[in-house]
Amino acid sequence: MAAEQLDEIDAYRTMWRIRLFEEAVEDLYGRGMMHGTMHLSIGQEAVPTGACAALKEGDQITSTHRGHGHCIAKGADLGRSMAELLARDNGYCRGRGGSMHIADVATGNLGANGIVAGGPPIAAGAALSNQLRGTDQVCLCFHGDGAVGEGAWHEALTLASMWQLPVVFICENNKYGMSMSSEKAFKVEHLSEKAAAYGIPGLTVDGNDVEAVFESVNTAVERARAGGGPTFIEALTYRWRGHSKSDKNLYRTREEIAQWRAHDPIAAYAAVLLERDTATQEELNAVADEVRTEIRDAVRFGTQGDEPTVEAMLAGVYAPSPVDARELGARA
């Protein structure tokens, strides 16, 4: 089956959604309206956008601490996402999870993860489930370059390759795992070379080129769907902001940042779409403007949400068991 086409305007819109969502988050955080920590993926929008565009309904993703983009690209509601970051009861996680634990299980987003490489074993498990249930679902596992240093990542790839599971690992190599440069950390030229150790295909793509990401993930997803097993894709990209708010940016140069900002995945894609005559500048502007409105609405939805309650929280530690708790409690 030939690779599906990427819907170009959709992809363009999704990248703007991620960008403007995160700019809004940054602003809210700066104004003290949002608490906790924050990992922004500004500059990396092409990876989740291209990757998720290659998925069908029913396909799953696992996400990371830097997961707003994954969440949005997989189709999450902006309002409920923003509400979660604002710690409201109408957020995806009812204010219990926040940015690092956003999930939208209905759309197949099995959750962000505060643990580096927490996702890969879970993704492999979802893929095993897909295989056992005999569906054609594929799980896409986002992780960073830093995650490659974790034993969990190695075990996930080992098991996924042994069982030829329908899972695609996509490494967002933004050159740093917090401050550790992936070049220093890993003694290979491309992280994708590590795929050979698991006997699976590995490739490196330009992570700031949304179509390149789409193509590579699409091929990998189709392979996985057809029973061809996992693929490891390294997408080269860059985060413009610091790792989180504690980052003083001492481990990288201004020049490096400037150079990568010049490779803005959104601007680059706009240029492609204009050159291709897919859209006019006005049409592209309109997309961004529409998204701006969506984000404003999302912030409003979030700020208008109720505060969560302690009672509901306590009732939410365990999923309700089939046995009526009162039946047991009655004796007490």
Binding site: P120, P121, S129, E155, A156, P322, R331
Partner: protein, 330 residues
């Protein structure tokens, strides 16, 4: 129910797994050497022949990976059982057990459940030394979001495993390696059990002994010896330590006025500390006629030498002695 049959604890675990796999397509098992090898303790035995290698899956030696895969499968509609060969190797898998499985339902605001069962043997007594003999239940009981089961006999091993498989939460089933080969009388069908429901294993009036896992049978044996000296000991098996059937314990303590808490694990910071603290905070505190007393493993890693190993955990005679002393305290 009147038909009793004899079966080992390992056979009971196996039968429960077979029943679950027969009744529910979503149930499958994975772990190290659970297939053709039959499990390090022979628990899975021929299950792979009966259910095939899709549902009885041999894994690589990757505990973190396999528990994580269990989490992923549980999140997406399956009911995985993950076997960890020795409970000591849960150390390898703690992130997926504690940071993922236990918290996911909560963190995602109830959007998803993690109906994952992890089975693993703990305990000492086989000469396997410090890295293969720990009793780590206290760790898991402390983690909100987990349930922890410790079957002390074959019937419970079957019943509680089936209950665990019906629960939408991650359940850790801590089996005991010394019990695996022991034979027990078991009803024709495993009676339905509820996680969180303890049992009075033996009734008594002079003191309450609360014990877990293999210490339950040691306590019952001790109670029989105590009876010969005219001391009537009630023995309680909580069966599930999280959630804990505290009402059952408190009621007994209020009746007897004395309580001895027996665990195999090292004393300091062990699970019975929680039971002690809970009793002290409860109305039953006022009914105590003697201080709450614990009898636990020594605060040492489990040693290799059989002599030292035996001395490191409570034996029947230790329970008898401690109970007698406690009843002696007026």
């Amino acid at each position: 129910m009147s038909d009793l049959r004899t079966m080992t604890y390992a056979e009971a675990v196996r039968e429960a797994m077979a029943t679950a796999m027969t009744n529910d397509d979503r149930v499958f098992l994975m772990g190290e050497d659970v297939g053709v090898y039959g499990g390090a303790f022979g628990v899975t035995n021929d299950l792979y022949e009966r259910f095939g290698t899709d549902r009885v899956r041999d894994t690589t030696i990757s505990e973190l990976g396999i528990v994580g895969m269990g989490v992923g499968a549980a999140l997406t509609g399956m009911r995985p059982i993950v076997e960890i060969q020795f409970s000591d190797f849960l150390c390898q898998a703690m992130d997926q057990v504690v940071n993922q499985a236990a918290k996911l339902h909560f963190m995602v605001g109830g959007q998803a459940d993690v109906p994952l069962v992890i089975r693993t043997p703990g305990g000492s007594g086989t000469g396997a030394a410090a890295q293969h003999s720990q009793s780590l239940e206290a760790w898991f009981a402390h983690i909100p979001g987990l349930k922890v089961v410790m079957p002390s006999n074959a019937t419970d091993a079957g019943s509680l495993l089936l209950a665990a498989l019906e629960d939408p939460n991650p359940v850790l089933v801590l089996e005991h390696k010394l019990l695996y080969k022991q034979s027990f009388e078991v009803p024709a069908e495993f009676p339905r059990a509820h996680l969180g429901e303890g049992r009075i294993e033996r009734e008594g009036t002079d003191l309450t002994i609360v014990a877990t896992s293999i210490e339950v049978q040691r306590s019952v044996q001790a109670a029989e010896q105590l009876a010969q000296s005219g001391i009537s000991a009630e023995v309680i098996d909580p069966r599930t330590i999280k959630p804990l059937d505290l009402p059952l314990i408190l009621d007994s303590v209020s009746r007897t006025g004395r309580v001895l808490l027996v665990q195999e694990s090292a004393k300091f910071g062990g699970f019975m500390a929680e039971v002690s603290a809970s009793i002290a905070e409860s109305p039953a505190f006022g009914d105590l006629q003697a201080p709450i007393k614990r009898l636990c493993g020594l605060d040492t890693p489990i040693p290799y030498s059989p002599k030292l190993e035996r001395a490191s955990v409570p034996q029947v005679e230790d329970i008898v002695a401690a109970a007698s002393a406690l009843v002696g305290e007026w």
